[in-house]
């Protein structure tokens, strides 16, 4: 697996990863999150298999989907074993954004992309995931969890390899272009995610300001009205609003 050497950013972040994986509770919950991500990835790939018209790609996507389901099961089983051994409690910070799973922050809508674009996306995302998993494998303190990553990394080699060869097969003239487009698309989606998150925060701040500045008087009235309500049945109005009304 060393052919996919961890990118420099991941290597720089190695001490952070080491810190994240040091806490056993956090480690167990992260594995369960990874399990959910892998299962989602498996579903995306099975959908891709259902949509493609290329029989070989269909078979490969199905195989890939099976691998992802298997990875999900490995992560889930290990996470549950750890949680069962640890009992309740534990740290609250999962640090998901610091140590993402296989697809990382990437999202995939297989219905919206052609086979070549999908293969380019998968190739990049598998390659990044393999490098990341390699770092996790090295920094995780317990041997059994390391073994889970080792087993998964063996499949990742195949995934990185087949996505590249198939991309070259179905788009011999433009496979490099597809890869660059996929890189650009990942960057754009990353920007969109950040922008959306920022807009969301901004919206929250504005709504909270309204909540505390505008609503208190209305809240008082609403609480008074609530106190007047008696428990039990409410009779329905004899005159029901017509179907034209949204209210």
């Amino acid at each position: 697996m060393d052919e996919h050497r961890a990118p420099s950013l991941e290597r720089i972040l190695r001490p952070v990863h080491r810190w994240v994986w040091r806490d056993a509770h956090r480690c167990a919950r992260k594995l369960l999150t990874f399990a959910a991500t892998e299962a989602d990835g498996g579903r995306d790939l099975s959908r891709a298999a259902e949509l493609t018209t290329d029989p070989l790609l269909r078979r490969l996507f199905l195989r890939h989907a099976l691998d992802e389901s298997h990875h999900a099961e490995l992560f889930r089983a290990r996470g549950r074993t750890m949680l069962a051994a640890l009992g309740g409690g534990g740290g609250w910070l999962e640090a998901r954004w610091l140590t993402p799973g296989e697809r990382g922050g990437d999202d995939l809508r297989v219905e919206d992309v052609k086979d070549a674009s999908l293969l380019a996306f998968l190739h990049l995302s598998e390659k990044v995931a393999a490098a990341r998993f390699e770092v996790y494998r090295d920094v995780i303190p317990d041997e059994e969890t390391r073994e889970v990553f080792r087993r998964i990394l063996r499949d990742e080699v195949f995934h990185v390899h087949y996505t590249r060869t198939q991309l070259e097969r179905i788009a011999p003239e433009r496979h490099r272009r597809e890869l660059w487009l996929a890189r650009a698309s990942r960057l754009w989606k990353g920007y969109l995610r950040v922008a959306t998150a920022l807009a969301g925060r901004l919206g929250t701040v504005i709504l909270l300001a309204q909540y505390f500045l505008v609503l208190p008087l209305f809240a008082l009235a609403a609480k008074r009205a609530a106190r007047r309500e008696r428990p039990g049945w409410s009779e329905r109005q004899r005159e029901q609003p017509t179907l034209e009304s949204q209210y």
Binding site: R43, Y162, A219, A222, G232
Partner: protein, 591 residues
Amino acid sequence: MRILGISAHYHDSAAALVVDGLPVCAIQEERLSRRKNDSAFPLAAVEWCLDEAGLEPEELDAVVFYEKPMRKLERILVTALRAFPRSWRSFPQAMKNTLGEKAWVKGIIASRLGVPARKILFTEHHQSHAAAAFLTSPAREAAILTADGVGEWATLTEGRGSRSPDGGCAIELLRELRFPHSLGMFYSTFTAYLGFEVNEGEYKVMGLASYGEPRFAEQVRAILRPTADGALELDLGYFDFHLSGRRAWSSRLVDVFGPPRSPGHPLDLATPDGKRFADVAASVQRVLEDRLVELTRALRRETGLRDLCLGGGVALNGCANARILNESGFERVFVPPAPGDAGCALGAALYADRIHFGGRDRPVPDHAYWGCPVDAGELERLAREDGLEVELAPGDRALVERVAEELANGRIVGWMDGRCELGPRALGNRSILASPASADMRDRLNREVKFREEFRPFAPAVPAGVADRYFELPPGGARLGRFMSGVFPVRPEWRSRLGAVTHVDGTARVQVVDPEVSPRFHALLLAYGARTGIPVLLNTSFNLSGEPIVARAVEGYSTFRRSGIDLVVAGRCIVAKARASGVRREEEAVS
């Protein structure tokens, strides 16, 4: 009249088309988008319905949305105001959720479908549930009870429906219970407390309940208590769902029942914690059933009617439905195949047709098969492309004999026939079938196909004519079994021979198969019975964990390839898994 019904934006969105008073088609968005419980605006479902009927949107006379969005917004806003300032965390999220799309339904329908705004109508949420329950039933006159988490304000309604000899219809909802007092929210809160996903894990609570003792029943009764006028009231001190978007229960609930189960935590029934969770589930289930029986008994006394139509997500609770049938005094209980929000698309369209436009009543075909048909040719093509052996049965008889033989030999069959079901149950058109004989088959299905918790039972399917021989069906039980809506005891003498479908408490959620509705499935059951002596099959939905039930042949094929299913059937096309796995061929092809 051509009326399109739409439900969307909460969970499990759907579209349904009613033409001249009869449903033409209805499908959940998830079956087409392949995203489980897809709550997005059901554009794919709408487009499919219109294509199926050969209609353009402008040819529609009305588009009916299944609830009143502005009244729902009012409820959300008022709930936040009442909880001020404790609602400060949930308020921004609730507003963003609602103001993002949910409040602008009229504009969205008008712009996406290109229909004029004047043609867009809105039923109330529980009117839609009531219509889906009553107008699809064969009852002339019936009491109606609908219960779910929450609609606009109502969480539970009672009323009556009637059909007059002149073809007129009436649905009158007499009273309602209002948010936050809600049977659905009560059950969902405990679903989340037990570590299961809300709107998805409620079946698991019901399955888990059979493993426990209701030793917390008194405490639960104190939380969900009757009011002086015969309604229900939640002790809100135990809940936070109306205050915070973060957690549904309060610390008081944890004080009484102990720490909640983390979603990822293993559920081991041999441990004290596992036993406690099963006991909580049993207590919650018991109290839910008791309260529903009390409500329906009172409704029976009040209306004097013999039939009851149940709607809303709570009507998916088969154990409660069986107790209502046994103990309420109603002689027949009707639960539609999709009593939840998906069925509201059909309910809203029928309500508009019969009540709003005054359309003449027409009996709605009494089945669940309103979705897209399966294309056997597609399965044949896919299998041939992948080098699998394809067998085309010369006729229906040859097909059922061949499949029955495989089932009798212990093989697991993915069975696709006709149009897919509306609602959460696979009723023999998109089913995984297997021998019900031994618990080993249940374990194999859990391990190799469904990948789900061991405590969840599998359902049996049995021909209507012999259902009584194997299951203790009370009068009216076969009707509930039509859409797998009731849980009934397996007769003790058959339990050991129906080990894969008999739950730990000796019950089963049985499907009673009518030969007129599902002739091929019925014939298959008989053919299987002729070989094994018991015409009962294990019937579970044709999907893998976390995926919607398959709709088209390609999805059935993909599920077949990714699981331990031995044989997949679409129409008369049969494909078996190759003995030697072809998985490595792909790797060879790549290298």
